[in-house]
Subunit: 134 residues, 2 copies
Amino acid sequence: MTDNNLDLKKAGLKVTFPRLKILEILATNDGHLSAEGVYKKLLESGDEVGLATVYRVLTQFETAELVVRHNFDGGHAVFEMASDDHHDHMVCVETGKVIEFFDEQIELRQHEIAKERGYEITDHNMVLYVKPIK
Amino acid sequence: MTDNNLDLKKAGLKVTFPRLKILEILATNDGHLSAEGVYKKLLESGDEVGLATVYRVLTQFETAELVVRHNFDGGHAVFEMASDDHHDHMVCVETGKVIEFFDEQIELRQHEIAKERGYEITDHNMVLYVKPIK
DNA sequence: TTCTATGCAAATTATTTGCAGCACT
DNA sequence: AGTGCTGCAAATAATTTGCATAGAA
């Protein structure tokens, strides 16, 4: 039995073909796929899964914290496998490439800033839109 | 002649009732209104402006750099008057309150991080989702 | 068998666009 | 008259949901 099988069971989700396939796709394609993107990968593999199912499964995975949803600019969400290490993203506006990064200094400042105002952070979202230095 | 009149002309936009009214609304309500929100304010004032016009005008203002569009989580964009000073946002998940802040340290690190990877920042987006410390 | 999951189409939400009429120069 | 602006309704794009049926435990 694979890890994916276990993950699904732990999440109280039945082990079905669409769910396994979607986990597999996210685990491979260095993550960062949109629902539509996952759907296309499925079609490419010749697998018949409805787009609605893709959305449903991704949402379930998000709830189960198996994947994380990111709302980049441009109106469509992207999903990636959840990992214990938090990180933020940099998106190249020319190539669309997504680069992950983590910066301790920034994380610390974010908490300080919130605390200075009497708040604590429940979540945050930081995306740098960048272009290659010529 | 008001500043708003001038701003519109400078942007090559004719001075019309919907445009003036929308500028006024954004200038007042400490900004951060969604298109729908602006539309509701208009209706409250008893002004008949179509929702489509609100969207059109906001988009024109964004292009003219009179307002800035922010894509917060939750699927709807919010607009605020453009000001020369850049800042980021903190959104209280309990009250929905939006707090602006600016942190030099974070801004500097963002540029360093991008540069370390061979990129330069064209734009960025940072939102802290927070809740009050009890 | 008993629930849960899936597919498909219809429904929603947020936003955009086509088009005919009105307004300002 | 000419060009820009508006409202309304229809069109899109992304995502969700209702429902009858197929599938997992």
